[in-house]
Subunit: 415 residues, 2 copies
């Protein structure tokens, strides 16, 4: 059996080769692998079904089950994202900035790869192919460790990608899965700070906190989201209703769906009954503040902890706000700084919300569900960072790079 340190060291070597790899070669590898994924759809779904059946038996919550399940559409999306990444410009070597010096110097800041990235992810087996495509294109080696609930899916997907990458010319060790290792492998992995340049934990708060507390390697965490939608007094009701339903119901299991709906007091009496009926039709359980229940007595009571709860299910908390400032204050206090949205026709209110909400993505008249690498034109994403450093929000190719200064002089010295 191969030991973990060999995989990690091999990844470092592969990252050095990849960092100097031509764009054309990287793109060809991705196109070939997209085909390979499509050609192996049946096999992927066969192994995924084993995981899904086991998860159902073990009583995994709905949100996990939804993220775990693949179907033909989700597999073809994997292949499509890989092709999309191949079609995007290569971030490596891109000139980020040219600086003007009073010295006789030409100074450029260019993008370079980070090195070796480890992705530790729960459920969601399709995350592996997005990560593999992004890392290869950005010149980084990748080590994958998926959750035990998706072990069969993860193994087959990693196998298909790895074989296709190597066959098409990628360096040995550039994309490795350690799913066949036992639980302790994660803890062991976190110790290789001399070889791994970035750890991305993608999952619940428990996973993220554990990783952060256990490693000296820089961490970019993709935690869950406690997102809000605020319906301003100047909202267009049609847009507001459409967005409120979409942001809660379209895929409640994921991090960019909303958990709390805030409604300006001036329109609450008119708006609340309308959204109540729509949420009822969509089987959404509602939990309201006192004022909400005065208007709509059929809504259950929200407890204090509801404002801090990520349901990731068909449940929503509803609160009446006295003003936009009140709503902003609530969001900045209770939110997870992920994605928050306002519905308003008032330009000043929109500007105020955009300026004062301290979140990775702030929306006006749009659903928080749109915070996504593919929607944003990045092809796909390796996660959504809720940190401020090194990158914030959805992370695509550029976010997997560092920079380096290149300086050319003419015998230039410091006086």
């Amino acid at each position: 059996m191969i030991d973990l340190s060999q995989i990690v060291k091999k990844a470092k070597e592969a990252s050095q080769i990849l960092s100097l790899c031509d764009t054309k070669i990287k793109n060809d590898i991705l196109y070939a692998t997209a085909q390979s994924i499509s050609a192996n759809t049946a096999e992927i779904l066969f192994y995924n079904d084993i995981d899904v059946c086991a998860a159902k038996e073990s009583g995994l919550p709905y949100s996990m089950l939804d993220r775990l399940s693949l179907n033909e559409k989700r597999v073809s999306d994997m292949a499509e994202s890989m092709e999309k990444i191949a079609s995007l410009p290569d971030p490596i070597g891109e000139i980020v900035e040219e600086l003007k010096s009073s010295f006789d110097l030409e100074i450029k800041k260019i993008r370079v790869p980070l090195g070796v990235i480890a992705l530790i992810y729960e459920a969601r087996p399709n995350a592996a192919s997005d990560a593999a495509a992004l890392c290869l294109k950005s010149g980084n080696a990748l080590i994958l460790k998926g959750g035990s609930e998706a072990v069969q899916s993860n193994k087959i997907i990693a196998k298909i990608i790895k074989e296709s990458f190597i066959k098409a010319g990628a360096p040995e060790g550039c994309t490795e899965s350690i799913d066949s290792f036992d639980r302790n492998a994660v803890l062991e992995l976190l110790k290789f700070d001399a070889f791994i340049d970035l750890i991305i934990p993608r999952g619940g708060k428990e996973l993220v906190d554990f990783v952060k507390a256990s490693t000296k390697i820089p961490v970019l965490s993709h935690g869950m989201g406690l997102c809000h939608l605020y319906i301003d007094k100047d909202a267009d009701f049609d847009a507001a209703l459409k967005i409120a339903v979409n942001a809660k119901c379209q895929r409640p299991s994921v991090c960019n769906s909303i958990e709390t709906l805030l409604i300006h007091k001036d329109i609450a009496e008119e708006f609340l009954p309308k959204i109540f009926n729509l949420y009822k039709d969509n089987n959404v359980e509602m939990r309201g503040c006192g004022k909400t229940r005065e208007i709509c007595s059929q809504i259950g009571a929200a407890a204090e902890e509801d404002w801090d709860t990520e349901y990731h299910d068909l449940i929503i908390s509803i609160k009446i706000s006295d003003s936009i400032s009140d709503a902003i204050e609530h969001i900045n206090r209770h939110g997870s700084k992920h994605s928050d949205s306002i519905v308003t026709e008032n330009k000043d209110s929109a500007d105020k919300f955009l300026r004062e909400i301290d979140s990775a993505a702030v929306f006006v008249n749009a659903s928080t569900r749109l915070h996504d690498g593919s929607v944003f034109g990045l092809g796909c994403e390796i996660g959504i960072s809720t940190q401020k450093l090194h990158s914030r929000g959805t992370m695509g190719l550029k976010e997997l790079t560092a920079t380096k200064f290149l300086i050319r002089g003419n015998g230039t010295i410091r006086q």
Copy 2:
């Protein structure tokens, strides 16, 4: 006595006010404070002299003593940097990127402040004013903790800046020094991960390692540097000699001076005697590899650990390289990924070096001493990051920001 938690919480509040502060107000504060620093030059030098005398008595090494000492020029540089920062564009609100979506969305990525930054620094009392200027302009609150060797200098500089900032309209608590606290204050400070957004340790390896191991707060470390100069076989000798002397002798105590000189074997016999004489004239102690000593027997022998030693003093290790690849391999293995330079007239060699050296700044025909925020046109710097994440190399205004996505739709939802 005020306790640390009050200072930290106050800084968080101040950062929220600062994040929305107009550019004009910030600039006026900086211009006023630059004047205040100049007007108090005598007082600053008086207190600095107390530190310097104490340091001499306690036998502080030369490199520390040099970084600790102020003079009229260094104080006027402090004021000048503050004015320069005032004159630069405000990074906050700057549009970094506009993304194209296939959805009906306008997506902008803009710069926002990080929040509260803590700078823990050794010696070098002028670092405080550079940090204060950069943080104020980038909308961040700052907590300063200097080394005990510079306590009198740090206290007076922090007092002048703080009083001038507040008088000119900055929010209370936006720039605080905790130099009057005892040693344990640093450890206590590192626990406030809910309030402090970034820690910058600026000093030796011991300080950086201690900070990294003791906090959950993101760290951007300014460690010391083990920098190299490689003289290629196609070097212009005049440029090579000038750069070799400047990079070692101009200010050996600082992180961007060189510790090792590499010379291509084909020119070693001609080049080595020339640089030997120049270094001898500059009182530089030389330690050479076997081949170096065959050519120049007056040079002492380098031990294996010399290639990994940061002298920060008038000492240099010298090695003959068989090829440019050999030199690159040596630098990537022994360097601190800070600043490395090649002297060559050969374009291919220059390109190879720029591409393959994995350091924050890679120079061609220029001294590594030029890796500096003011030389690079950034006004000044809060440090030089030798990490790859969140920023790499000299850190000015932009490097003290995070980003946020602003998205405008028209009732746009996810299908």
